[in-house]
Symmetry: C2
Subunit: 434 residues, 2 copies
């Protein structure tokens, strides 16, 4: 949007003076418009976090959907409990047991995707000006939630083993010395979005100890934990400590996002607040969705489906890494052992956000690294997703990207800049970026 168009838009909003303070930071990112273009079929999108669902047995799922309505329709179509369906909450315990979590169904709150869980946790804990500590980089949708509640996000570095405990301790010590109130440590310990790394087993108790010592509640966001390519799942942080961890889970990546079913596990008193907050926000989660998921878990080999997803995404990860090695040797990246994403560092002097319009013109899309920082950093990185396109499309996408990078490098060599500068961060999460 040009400044004059923005000004015109401003004049046309009769309620401009009425918005809440929290709304002023809410604006559509400039890359949103680009993503509308990026969704065209001719563009290879390495930007989105959509799972590839074509391996799901749709005919059988259709029969299941019918069965649920025919046999349990009066429940499925009715209002339900604010906390969520009790049978589903029991089944969620089985899912979490794969990561060493022992909990009671009463500790679980079903949410409209784990995004709602994150919104609710932030809602009940964060005052404007409070600090949330998060990895550098962090999931764009989480940053959007923290911004919506007017939090300050302070980033802590990660390396190949995830969050760096010493850096976390130092950051929390400095924040305390500065008199700041730190409410949450937000972390994606497995197959990080966007960085692809996992918190090592050795670091897990250390991170928990540091958070406990500083009185900071850990929010463990774990949508990808079961989607490892080689090793069995690691014990969750929540498996190692109950009172200091709020755990966010989701069926979006291990089954299907279309039902919007996630969950939160929280200490008892926190769980009570979460239910009250959720009832205020949505009254209750969808019974239709919950009963469909519950029937799926009961009827299908869901562990086999998770395994099959892992194999599918490993093949795509391999395709991406091999294409990066072949086409983009001037960049560097990590080799994720699970999940959806690779985090790529561009050759020196290139700016991933400035480059994006030219990438889309070259029919390839990615998410610039700046989306994953609260403070404008990250322009030297970009996130590539290997979850949705086929291996062939991934190769083609990386090949196109390499062409764009090559053109940028020539510009940098000539003019010392990668082209016209952009402006503004990614401001809101979006299904395109999930």
């Amino acid at each position: 949007m040009t400044p004059s168009a923005a000004a015109a838009g401003t004049r046309l909003d009769p309620w401009l003076g009425s918005y809440a303070d929290r709304t002023h930071g809410m604006r559509a990112s400039e890359i949103r418009a680009l993503f509308a273009v990026a969704n065209r079929p001719e563009v290879v999108s390495l930007a989105g976090g959509m799972p590839f669902l074509e391996g799901l047995p749709l005919e059988e799922l259709a029969a299941l959907a019918s069965h649920v309505v025919a046999t349990r329709g009066l429940t499925s179509l009715q209002y339900g409990s604010g906390q969520g369906d009790e049978t589903l909450r029991e089944q969620i315990l089985d899912v979490m047991a794969l990561e060493g979590i022992r909990a009671h169904a009463d500790d679980v709150v079903v949410t409209t995707g784990s995004q709602q869980g994150l919104d609710l946790v932030t809602r009940i804990f964060v005052n404007p000006g409070d600090v949330v500590v998060a990895e550098a980089p962090s999931y764009v949708g989480a940053l959007g939630v923290f911004r919506a509640y007017q939090a300050d996000v302070v980033h802590v570095p990660i390396d190949a083993d995830g969050l760096v405990p010493e850096a976390l301790d130092e950051t929390l010590t400095q924040l305390a010395a500065a008199g700041r109130t730190v409410k949450l440590l937000y972390t994606v310990p497995n197959f990080h979005n966007p960085a692809g790394v996992s918190l090592s087993a050795a670091r897990r108790p250390r991170v928990l100890e540091i958070a406990r010592r500083h009185g900071v509640l850990v929010v463990e966001d774990n949508p990808y934990g079961l989607l490892g390519f080689d090793a069995p799942p690691r014990d969750a942080l929540r498996a190692l400590e109950e009172d200091g961890v709020v755990y966010l889970g989701s069926f979006s990546k291990t089954f299907a996002p279309g039902y919007r079913v996630g969950w939160v596990v929280a200490p008892h008193a926190v769980r009570e607040k979460l239910v009250l907050a959720s009832e205020s926000a949505i009254l209750c989660p969808s019974n239709a969705s919950q009963l469909a998921i519950s029937a799926y878990l009961q009827t299908f080999d869901w562990r086999g489906q998770v395994k099959s997803y892992g194999e599918q995404y490993r093949e795509r990860r391999d395709a991406m890494i091999s294409a990066l090695s072949e086409y983009l040797p001037s960049a560097s990246w990590n080799v994720p052992e699970g999940g959806f994403y690779t985090w790529v560092r561009l050759p020196d002097g290139l700016d991933s956000r400035d480059m994006l319009p030219r990438a889309v013109t070259a029919r390839v899309a990615y998410v610039p690294g700046t989306a994953f920082y609260y403070d404008g950093a990250g322009s030297d990185h970009l996130r590539l997703s290997f979850c949705y396109p086929t291996p062939e499309r991934i190769r083609e996408g990386v090949r196109r990207l390499a062409g764009v990078v090559s053109g940028e490098r020539e510009l940098v060599d000539l003019f010392g800049t990668g082209g016209v500068a952009g402006g503004g961060d990614v401001q809101a999460p979006s299904p395109d970026l999930s």
Copy 2:
């Protein structure tokens, strides 16, 4: 909960010092525990707002659910747009046309029930301390949302023709003189929850003119508008004015609440903020739910189903009014021309909240009037729902209630009070109270 139990619970919450300011007002109401009892089958619940779904053609809906997954599964199971499915938004225009609303699909945001719409509107407009003006009484779930955003609610009286324009004008004038910032006028103009009345056609333009003159945005919450028993639907406030009204709609009462599909219609700039806020809150509404509703609207005679609901609820309304006349002549009530609720004024000296435990013991439940006021008023009223129980059960429930009232009156005559006093308001909405 006894004070000592509350204190014990307090000591057991390690995060008690960490909650946000907004969370301190969030607590479970005392009547919640009673409603757990009230859900037992031997209790006639005249408390809930659950639609009676047994008339729905479950076999055909089951076939439809199967068809959606089999033919559109890759969309239905996937992430969708933050604003909602475009086809469904087009179909929602047809639904709203019945109430005279002309809009564009781009004006519509699909939400997780209209409760989420209310949450989002409040989120983007209300700062702590801002005023929301609302009818006296008002929907308990709306009061819960306003409380969650730390708004002050100022009530405006209603009569048999709904919101009283002169009182609204006077209240807004006084608030302006007091330097208060009034952000929203929240109103349920059709078949009000809990009062059962509707805003007369003559008053509608007057209410809009007053709100416009005072610069207050009208939030028109209209879940029941199509469920009139005799006359055709009135023109919505949104049909009379576009820029000054945010309209909340829902499929929960006209079809089924289990999908959690509602919507908001808002002026363009407001709609943009709502989408950003919704993406932050839930990423996107459920495609599975949206496509199921969309297929229902396309395939079924949904207008016939709405008519059939209206006939069903009229029969129940008649049963309730006739039972009240027969068993509870000492009380007074209105005769609603649509919707789910009758608002009953108790004989002098009786307190509906104090009486509730004894009513539940007598195997009948209702919602005390205090739930519907921000300021503790309403103890002389109670809300009776005629939506869910059969006409026979409604008669039996009112008969039991009459026995309780009669016992209370004897106590009042003897001791000048209706028994042990309760304390605290209803604090949060709950599916039981929807």
